[in-house]
């Protein structure tokens, strides 16, 4: 049994179809039972009540006037019975008819029961009758009943109708089950075909959305969102691998060239040492790039989200402003903080520190002498907590702004300055992990970088909710 059922039940489509058919059959059955009870059953109950009422009347007359009164009443009733459905029979102890419209004591009516459903001979036809038998004193027997042939015919009709409808229900149930199953298969087939194609390496495939906006559409949209994310991650990985291959080659090649050159051409120990030291510095740069990459990967993996806490970032920002303020002055720049006394945020202290430090590093690096760098922070009902670092440097052209947060991206103006092109990627990763966003805008002149964070864990909606909005909105903030 189990062995037979297993393969069938393993298909969810068949299972759902069977459930559908079962529920459908149960509904039909309930309807039939109710129909039967409220028609045929009602008529039967009415017949019994009529017989009881009839008997009640006869018994009263018998009590008043004895046997003759009973006979008279029966004759009266028979005469007044227009429908010709009342049945009476009174017999004497010898089983001879005294009065009544039955020719004789019906066969199949034993003398020891009270209610009978029997066939009686009437006017040459055998009709179904319901009879009640009473014993009278002196060995007389009385049968009171009704001819229920019409009821019986109706019941047969009803049974036929119900049987037919059961058949039709079975048919419709099966058809419905098959439809459910094929619908299921069709919908899932697309999902599974897409998944199979993705596994096979075709990352461009997406699940078809019917546009009806039903549950399957929502499932399809969720899956497509997931695939988009996977696609972006894959692109990121590809990009990073390429970038590592290209961008790390340069310093490694430089270090190698220096060492080789020194080993061949160095005239003195001092030369040799100098070359080695410069190569060391090159390798330190490579190490720093690797560390930044690992750090970004660590942040993007979200492993540190467990360390999130609600914290006041105002002192944190003032500390950073203090740390960088001195350096800015050294460069002939002016760092101007505008930070409220308290500013709640929800996140990881170290990450926020590092993100803001990266923004300040960039601002200091790209700002000309005599310019002002502003670090502002505040809370906004719509965006939560925001931290803005605005400089008066060359800024980032509109065309590059989208790509500025990609790993290893370096703008034209940044080519001549030292750096790895990972700073903004890290800020972006921190922002995304915090359910916020990094928005880059034109400071006319310069760059206005705004890091947005949630101010409390409660407003956590969707990690990408901010990031999807256009970057231009940062001007308003």
């Amino acid at each position: 049994m189990l062995g037979l059922r297993r393969p069938l039940v393993r298909s969810a489509g068949v299972r759902f179809g069977m459930i559908y058919a079962g529920v459908f059959a149960l509904g039909t059955l309930a309807l039939a039972v109710f129909l039967w009870w409220s028609t045929a059953g009602l008529l039967d109950r009415q017949t019994d009540a009529a017989i009881n009422a009839d008997t009640q009347g006869l018994s009263e007359r018998y009590g008043e006037g004895g046997l003759p009164a009973l006979v008279e009443t029966i004759e009266q009733r028979l005469a007044g019975n227009v429908d010709d459905d009342a049945l009476y029979l009174l017999t004497d102890p010898a089983a001879h008819r005294v009065v009544g419209n039955l020719s004789g004591w019906p066969v199949n009516v034993p003398r020891d029961a009270a209610w009978y459903d029997v066939q009686v001979e009437r006017a040459g036809r055998r009709n179904l009758a319901r009879l009640h038998r009473y014993e009278l004193p002196g060995g007389f027997h009385l049968l009171v009943g009704r001819d229920v042939e019409v009821h019986a015919q109706m019941a047969r009709l009803l049974t036929d109708a119900l049987l037919w409808s059961a058949g039709i229900a079975l048919l419709l149930g099966t058809a419905g089950a098959l439809a459910v199953r094929s619908l299921f298969r069709m919908t899932l087939a697309d999902v599974s075909a897409t998944a199979a194609a993705i596994s096979a390496g075709d990352l461009t495939r997406r699940v078809r959305v019917s546009g009806r906006g039903d549950e399957f559409d929502r499932l399809a949209e969720t899956i497509n969102d997931m695939l988009d994310r996977i696609g972006r991650l894959m692109d990121g990985v590809r990009q990073v691998s390429n970038a590592i291959a290209h961008d790390l080659r340069t310093p490694i090649a430089r270090a190698r060239a220096r060492l080789e050159d020194a080993s061949v051409h160095a005239a003195s120990e001092a030369d040799l040492r100098a070359a080695i030291e410069r190569a060391e510095a090159d390798l330190d740069g490579v190490i720093a790039i690797f560390q930044a990459l690992l750090r970004i990967a660590e942040i993007e993996a979200g492993a540190r989200r467990s360390a999130f806490a609600t914290l006041d970032i105002a002192p944190l920002l003032l500390d950073l402003a203090d740390l960088y303020g001195a350096a800015a002055e050294e460069h002939g720049q002016h760092l101007q903080p505008a930070i409220p006394p308290h500013l709640p945020a929800y996140g990881d202290r170290e990450m926020i520190q590092q993100a803001v430090a990266n923004l300040l590093d960039n601002a200091l690096k790209f700002s000309p002498e005599g310019s002002t760098i502003r670090i502002e922070a505040g809370a906004d009902a719509n965006v939560g907590t925001f931290i803005t670092v605005a400089d008066e440097g060359p800024g980032i052209p509109d065309a590059d702004r989208e790509r500025a947060t990609q790993r290893f991206f370096r703008g034209e103006t940044a080519r001549s300055t030292p750096g790895s092109g990972l700073g903004l990627s890290l800020v972006q990763a921190v922002a995304t992990l915090h359910g916020g966003a990094l928005r880059l805008a034109d400071n006319r002149p310069g760059l206005r970088a705004t890091l947005m964070l949630r101010s409390s864990p409660a407003v956590q909606v969707n990690a990408t909710s901010f990031a999807d909005q256009p970057a231009a909105a940062a001007d308003a903030a």
Partner: protein, 227 residues
């Protein structure tokens, strides 16, 4: 100082041992966790340099936990290629005193080991620091050099305090970032140099001899005026 190095990589171990010996320390070496634990538990060291991933069934974390379980409080510096924030946190939680990730500059390692070994000497809570003619009162937060009052900003005070607590030792920029600012990342900008140079303006400039010295390729050192 007596230092134990538990490190299985031959090249790294050789490099570290040689450097520490050149710096005048007595160094012992174990190349697996079992030997390392045995030596650490049975002998007296001023500091232990400990790799996290070790052969021999006992890794760095287990070794340290066992050691701390025996109430051995020798300062331990983790030296590990496991560079994630969580790895560092785990290492420090297990009882490590400092965490340095590979690859590293030897100057950084030396400065940190010496700082640890010095700290291990178990000085009680102190209220005054003095290096040469420089004096610092930690309670009144006053600083004097040769009897002359020096006004410092709170951050400058903490920077000088850190330097004075490590007087005579090399202090790297990373150590200053961690110890004074509690930052665990390396800024691109030379922020530390700027702050040290500001401190010099106040501590060294008005006087004949400098006390804060730059150590090439390593960091800074505060030491008494040369006679």
């Amino acid at each position: 100082m007596r230092i134990l190095v538990v490190e299985d990589d031959k090249d790294v171990a050789g490099f570290v041992l040689k450097g520490l010996r050149e710096a005048g320390h007595v160094v012992e070496h174990a190349d697996n966790g079992r030997d390392g634990l045995f030596m650490a538990a049975s002998e007296n060291f001023d500091a232990i340099v400990l790799d996290r991933m070790l052969p021999g069934g006992i890794d760095g974390l287990r070794l340290l936990e066992t050691l701390r379980g025996q109430n051995n409080n020798t300062p331990v510096l983790f030296l590990s290629a496991m560079a994630q924030v969580d790895d560092r946190v785990r290492g420090l939680k297990a009882g490590g005193d400092d965490y340095l990730t590979k690859p590293f500059a030897f100057a950084e390692l030396l400065a940190r080991v010496e700082a640890l070994a010095r700290r291990g000497k178990g000085e009680g809570p102190i209220t005054k620091l003095a290096v040469g003619e420089l004096e610092m009162d930690l309670l009144s937060r006053g600083v004097k050099r040769a009897g002359q009052r020096i006004d410092l900003q709170p951050r400058e005070f903490r920077l000088l305090e850190f330097l004075m607590r490590h007087a005579g030792q090399v202090v790297t920029r990373t150590m200053l970032l961690e110890g004074v600012w509690d930052y665990h990342f390396d800024p691109q900008t030379n922020v530390i140099d700027v702050h040290v140079s500001r401190l010099r303006q106040k501590v060294d400039k008005p006087f004949a001899t400098p006390m804060i010295h730059t150590v090439r390729n390593a960091g800074y050192m505060l030491r008494p005026e040369q006679p």
